[in-house]
């Protein structure tokens, strides 16, 4: 049996056609050549428009849950067993998933994602339930990270998730796998008294190791099959590396672990100040010099979170003045950048890269404006620094 659920020709054809479209926009290849490439590398899978994928995902997941609700009725309630139910659901949806990939050529098209997540959720539930049944009752009571019972359940979960990533190459499963791995590292360290002291450094180290591993794996010939996973994992590794060294996360995390209501100063505080200030700048500089979009975007988000960290402990300005100043600075900076990069410099440019989806992007942008840019309703207090979701809304458009 093949390890990979989807044919490797699909991601390859996808990559070829994407590149060819870019070359055609630059008039590096002619239209007949484009047709020849399309014919040689056909997209033979089914992947509809993103909004249809959302619909397929939601209704498939909904249908799975509803069908699972029928099973206890069919089995009879008297010899009811949660593990059996979970295994039946997982087995059924996995079989259906494999069948649909073969027969309907689904390839990350909503329904297959939903079936995969549903069966994995069932399996993980079964693992946790079985481990819970097998351990003494006092351990079951809490889901605290210091609880060794959690480690026992997380280990098989990690194996399960890794197997799923290797077979289905789903990026969100890869993300959950990564989080499980970090939880395991943290849970293991917290078994020891000294663990808490080195926890943040261990998280940073584990993130760096994961990034290095992804870079190594990306040299494999089947790189394209796992590209969505690798891209997301790189971003996540950068994010957790930053959060591991962020002063706010370290201080409040320590307080939460010691069950304190008010956080205390942490050891090595100057080092964490340095990380909080330095890592975002490092990311942005690397992102612009290499250039690498993931580093740049994570760097910008990290910078915003670092500013939030600063405000959290030392509010230098009242929020409305901070927002006004930040807005003025951002506007001047971007206006300058747009003018400076009108002709490409240092390998950077301000021009849009191809305008395939320009029209639908403008349409969606008008909804973002409707959501975020209405009349400023003055609020006496509780005005949130950050101006709503517009930043995220705009950033989404580029993927």
């Amino acid at each position: 049996m093949n390890v990979k659920a989807y044919p490797t020709a699909w991601p390859y054809a996808e990559a070829v056609q994407k590149l060819a479209r870019r070359w055609q926009r630059q008039q590096l290849i002619s239209a007949p050549q484009m047709e020849a490439i399309k014919a040689a590398y056909p997209l033979s899978y089914y992947r509809p428009h993103v909004f249809i994928r959302v619909g397929l995902f939601v209704f498939t997941l909904f249908g799975c849950c509803a069908a699972a609700g029928l099973i206890p009725g069919l089995l009879g309630f008297q010899n009811f067993n949660f593990i059996l139910l979970a295994l039946l659901c997982a087995g059924g949806s996995l079989l259906l998933l494999e069948h649909l990939i073969r027969e309907s050529q689904l390839y990350h098209s909503g329904s297959d994602n939903a079936l995969l997540y549903f069966s994995l959720t069932c399996l993980i539930f079964a693992v946790f339930y079985a481990v819970g049944e097998a351990t003494p009752a006092p351990y079951r009571a809490s889901f605290s990270l210091t609880n060794p019972f959690l480690l026992l359940a997380l280990l098989p979960t990690l194996g399960l998730l890794m197997a799923a990533v290797i077979r289905y190459a789903d990026r969100w499963v890869a993300a959950v796998t990564y989080c499980t791995y970090l939880l395991l590292v943290a849970g293991f360290l917290l078994q020891f008294a000294a663990g808490r002291l080195v926890l943040s450094f261990a998280i940073m180290l584990a993130s760096a190791a994961a990034y290095a591993l992804v870079l190594r794996l990306a040299r494999r010939p089947d790189y394209l099959y796992y590209k969505p996973c690798f891209d997301l994992l790189k971003a996540l590794a950068l994010i957790t590396f930053y959060l591991g060294g962020n002063y706010l996360v370290v201080r409040e995390g320590n307080a939460a672990l010691s069950a304190l209501t008010v956080s205390r100063q942490v050891p090595f505080a100057p080092l964490f100040h340095f990380f909080t200030a330095g890592i975002p700048l490092l990311y942005i500089v690397v992102g612009l010099r290499r250039p690498h979009r993931t580093w740049l975007i994570v760097g910008l988000l990290a910078l915003a979170f670092s500013l939030y960290t600063l405000r959290f402990y030392r509010a230098l300005l009242p929020p409305e003045i901070a927002a006004t100043l930040a807005g003025a600075v951002l506007i001047s900076l971007t206006v300058w950048a747009f003018r400076y990069l009108r002709t490409p410099r240092h390998g950077l440019s301000a021009a849009a890269e191809g305008d395939e989806n320009k029209d639908s992007l403008l349409n969606l942008e008008s909804l973002v404006v409707a959501q975020t840019a209405h009349a400023p309703t003055p609020q006496p207090r509780g005005f949130e620094f950050g101006g709503g979701s517009s930043g995220g809304g705009g950033a989404d458009g580029k993927y």
């Binding site: 070359w23 619909g55 249908g63 509803a66 409305e320 807005g327 971007t334 404006v369 705009g394 580029k398």
Partner: protein, 326 residues
């Protein structure tokens, strides 16, 4: 690098002559890295922060600042933005105008937001509009509609629609339409449905009459969302609503059908999703109203969800076949 491999592969399969492959390699190596969307997002974030911050700042320090300075400052920003956008505008057309560029587009938005701040300020300070709040809310709507058509700007159009909705008394922004409006008030629900239908009509008309046909998406998405939410609220209402539940259900089904048809015609699949979800809610509600739970209908009810979900998945999957274009 995979790009290099793909070029080599295409050359080997004789889909690319070697000379062309060399040109493509050259292009891939020297291609500049585009910061367009990052800069655009930051610019928009800056505009929202600045106008939001200014609005609160002026409101909180109403008594401490000199009115003349504030008004002069706001008018300067306003005029600078509008003048810049005006100088860079494309000549007026009823069709899609050539893009004016990012800066003119976004500065026009900043100008519109500053206008709202300025209007709020002079009203708070001098009561220019007295108690004629309707006029105060109508003025930005009229101005923004004019600007949207003049500058061919969909963002300003959506601001105009939000301003119009504020004049009617409802909140139309995609999520706050759900959270902020109290549809249990009969008046509000009625005017929300009417305004939604009006916007739907405006969207269709702009397409049919070929007057800014690309504005249709904004009109129809905001309008149908408002009308559908208000009608759904009427459907679930226990009190006397503006529409009886049956009429509300029919209205939702009609709008949903329209959206599905429209989505198929224009390939705007957001509308397809909206139409199917709202349609599903009504059909499910109707089905459960018909069931008799004192009898043996529990079995039917438990079968309904898996089967109907499978049906919707089938519909999505075969949408192209089911709604084949004439």
């Amino acid at each position: 690098m995979s790009c290099e491999e793909i070029i080599a592969d295409l050359t080997a399969r004789e889909l690319l002559p070697p000379a062309q492959a060399a040109a493509i390699r050259d292009y891939e190596r020297t291609r500049p890295f585009s910061l367009h969307y990052e800069l655009r997002t930051l610019l928009y974030l800056g505009i929202v922060l600045l106008s939001g911050g200014l609005g609160v700042l002026l409101y909180q320090h109403l008594d401490e600042l000199s009115h003349g300075v504030i008004i002069a400052g706001l008018v300067t920003i306003l005029l600078a933005c509008f003048l810049y956008a005006f100088r860079h505008r494309a000549p007026f057309t009823w069709q899609l105008a050539p893009p004016a560029g990012v800066l003119p587009d976004y500065l026009l938005l900043l100008g519109c937001l500053t206008f709202l701040t300025l209007e709020g300020y002079v009203q708070a300070q001098y009561q220019v509009f007295g108690t004629r709040y309707g006029l105060a809310l109508m003025l930005p709507a009229v101005l923004f509609f004019a600007l949207a058509y003049l500058f061919d700007h969909r963002g300003v159009l959506s601001m105009a629609i939000t301003a119009l909705a504020a004049w009617v008394g409802v909140s139309i922004a995609p999520t706050s339409a759900f959270v902020r409006n109290d549809f249990s008030s009969v008046d509000l629900s009625g005017s929300a449905i009417l305004l939604g239908l009006l916007l739907l009509g405006a969207g269709l008309a702009s397409e049919r009459l070929n007057r800014k046909p690309h504005f249709a998406f904004t009109y129809i998405s905001l309008g149908s969302n408002l009308a559908l939410l208000a009608a759904t609220a009427a459907l679930f209402s226990y009190q006397r609503a503006v529409l009886p539940p049956f009429a509300a259900g029919i209205l939702i089904l009609a709008i949903s059908t329209f959206l599905v048809w429209y989505a198929r015609r224009t390939h705007s699949y957001l509308f397809l999703l909206m139409g199917v979800v709202y349609g599903y809610i009504v059909v499910t509600y109707g089905f459960f109203q018909l069931l008799d739970f004192s009898g043996g209908d529990w079995f039917l009810a438990s079968l309904y969800f898996p089967l109907s979900a499978a049906g919707v998945v089938f519909l999505f999957k075969n949408i192209h076949k089911i709604l084949r274009q004439p």
